[in-house]
């Protein structure tokens, strides 16, 4: 029979005792395949007390601390060996694994004065800790709903790639990239516009001092954007928990978009305000597309 930890055995015995309405000790002894504890305990305890007065009830300790009796026994042997003292006589029943041995000690105990080490072939070791069964169970990872990258993800990526390639090829087949006259340092076109992704900044230049619009706002903007994860410490990703963050970011995105569109389509000669449907579009990035 496999050697069960004493605490589990005891728990089972308690449950069965409760169900059958019998004393726990009787059931426990029965489960260990021993005689009723009353007999052995009454016989052994006085002997132990007589021998050196230091006998310990290992069974009681085992159930009290939830540690298998065999380990307690081994620890006791080791400590005795280290101290150089005699092993205290054992009280209670024998080890669960060796019920046959339990009968003999009751007679032999008084004379067994100095068994100085563990039985041959038994390695002694100190008990550092006992991990309860509950603590080491239930550590399996939560299963996640996963799919193979091939074919599920790669197929989607490949289709997206083909769609983008097709769109770009068709666009390029029908719309040429702009190529204006040769670069002339002496003739500045009116209006002169930056590449479209900087037109939001150029639009800001129409409202603020160059130091502010050209330097402070973009620098602060880029740095603030880069530090977003360290500014926004809210751990939730649910939109309802992040109303402030989403609001601020949306204002930023909309602001950048509106400024860029404004700078692209609503600014004419002298970078003055214009209506594209009234005065035409002054936006050379899309010159060939709009013609």
């Amino acid at each position: 029979m496999a050697q069960l930890p004493e605490n589990l055995l005891r728990r089972a015995a308690e449950a069965r005792a409760k169900a059958e309405g019998r004393p726990v000790e009787d059931v426990l002894a029965e489960m260990k395949g021993e005689a009723a504890p009353a007999a052995s305990a009454s016989a052994a305890a006085p002997v132990a007390a007589a021998s050196d007065g230091g006998g310990r009830d290992l069974d009681a300790d085992a159930s009290k601390f939830g540690v298998p009796r065999s380990l307690l026994e081994r620890a006791m042997f080791a400590r005795a060996k280290a101290d150089g003292t005699a092993v205290p006589a054992m009280a209670g029943a024998g080890a669960p694994g060796a019920p046959a041995a339990a009968a003999a000690p009751s007679a032999a105990a008084p004379t067994a004065a100095a068994p100085t080490g563990p039985p041959p072939g038994v390695r002694t070791q100190r008990l550092l800790t006992v991990v309860k069964a509950g603590a080491i169970q239930g550590t399996t990872k939560e299963p996640q709903d996963k799919v193979n990258v091939w074919p599920h993800l790669l197929a989607i990526e490949f289709v997206a790639l083909l769609a983008m390639l097709a769109f770009l090829t068709l666009l390029s087949a029908f719309v040429d990239a702009p190529l204006l006259e040769f670069a002339n340092f002496n003739e500045q076109p009116n209006p002169s516009k930056a590449p479209w992704y900087f037109l939001g900044l150029q639009e800001l230049l129409a409202y603020f001092d160059p130091q502010v619009a050209g330097v402070i706002i973009p620098t602060v903007g880029v740095v603030a954007l880069a530090f977003v994860p360290y500014i926004d410490r809210n751990p939730s990703v649910r939109p309802s928990d992040r109303k402030l963050a989403i609001s601020i970011f949306t204002v930023f995105v909309m602001g950048a978009s509106v400024l860029t569109i404004f700078g692209s389509f609503f600014r004419g000669p002298g970078f003055n305000f214009t209506f594209p449907w009234r005065d035409g579009i002054f936006f050379d990035d899309l010159k060939t597309l709009l013609e």
Binding site: D145, K146, V147, N148, V149, W150, P151, H152, L153, L154, I156, E157, A160, L161, M164, L165, L168, L171, S172, D176, A177, P178, L179, L180, E181, F182, A183, N184, F185, E187, Q188, P189, S192, K193, P195, W196, Y197, F198, L205, P210, Q211, G214, V215, V222, L225, A226, V228, P229, D232, P235, V237, R238, P239, R242, A245, I246, F249, V253, D284, D285
Partner: protein
């Protein structure tokens, strides 16, 4: 009867040659175990894992990903498309380098020749230019997508920072390329753009001087920006892309569902 027999013989012969080829040492050394091109590359859970694992793709993708992460409506493929556009721009850019000299006035004439003398020259230039504009858009939209999903939250904080660096590099790539046609649009757009940088306090003039290689844009600027555009900035970008993709995997793939 004889006809059928003949066809069967031919089919066996062709099929046998196919099997022979697919079992040859050359073939099996090119297509690693799990590849659908192999004789033993049938569809099985094991081979589906091997297709990724035994492939250079393993640098980009794990064998399995969370099911919600492959939903097109979650990522809109914006990061992947940005990467694809970067590759497409590299390929078309190399093609353009064959026909382009970064000197004045040759640069402008080379672009004119591209439209008239080179097979598919204009098409490739169009793809390069429109692709660059679209890439700026996809990178920016990728950033907004990541923000709205809160995907920059721990443990992905640093990858957001890397992404911001990549956004900046994308803008720089586009801006340096903008000058290269050497036409009125290029010259004056870049003049306006670099003038903004010159407003920077204290060292604004020095930055501007280094950037355009002088006090104003000249043919020297063209060479400088060409080198930055085709060599230096792509080099930096590739390094940060490697970090970016690596961190995506190390941080647990696409962020969880909302």
């Amino acid at each position: 009867m004889a006809d059928e027999k003949g066809r069967g013989g031919l089919g066996t012969l062709v099929g046998g040659m196919g099997d022979h080829l697919r079992n040859s040492q050359v073939w099996t050394s090119i297509f690693r175990p799990g590849s659908p091109a192999r004789a033993d590359g049938g569809d099985s859970p094991r081979n589906r894992a091997y297709v990724v694992m035994n492939n250079v793709l393993y640098h980009l993708h794990p064998v399995k990903v969370k099911r919600h992460g492959v939903r097109l409506s979650y990522t809109l493929c914006l990061g992947g498309l940005s990467f694809f556009l970067f590759i497409l721009l590299t390929v078309t850019g190399i093609f353009l380098m064959f026909y382009y000299r970064p000197t004045s006035p040759q640069a402008y004439f080379d672009l004119q020749a591209l439209a008239t003398d080179v097979a598919f020259g204009q098409l490739v230039r169009n793809m390069h230019r429109w692709g660059a504009h679209i890439m700026v858009l996809t990178v920016f939209l990728h950033m907004t997508r990541v923000f709205y999903h809160g995907a920059y939250k721990p443990p992905r904080e640093f990858n957001w920072v890397v992404g911001m660096i990549l956004l900046t590099l994308t803008l720089l790539l586009s801006f340096t390329g903008y000058l290269l046609p050497w036409d009125q649009l290029a010259l004056w757009a870049v003049t306006v753009g670099t003038n903004m940088g010159a407003y920077a306090p204290v060292f604004g003039d020095q930055v501007s001087f280094v950037l355009i290689g002088g006090v104003q844009i000249t043919a020297d600027t063209l060479l400088r920006w060409y080198t930055l555009h085709v060599l230096f900035i792509p080099f930096i970008t590739v390094i940060f892309m490697a970090v970016h993709f690596w961190r995506v995997r190390k941080d647990g793939g696409v962020s969880g569902p909302l």
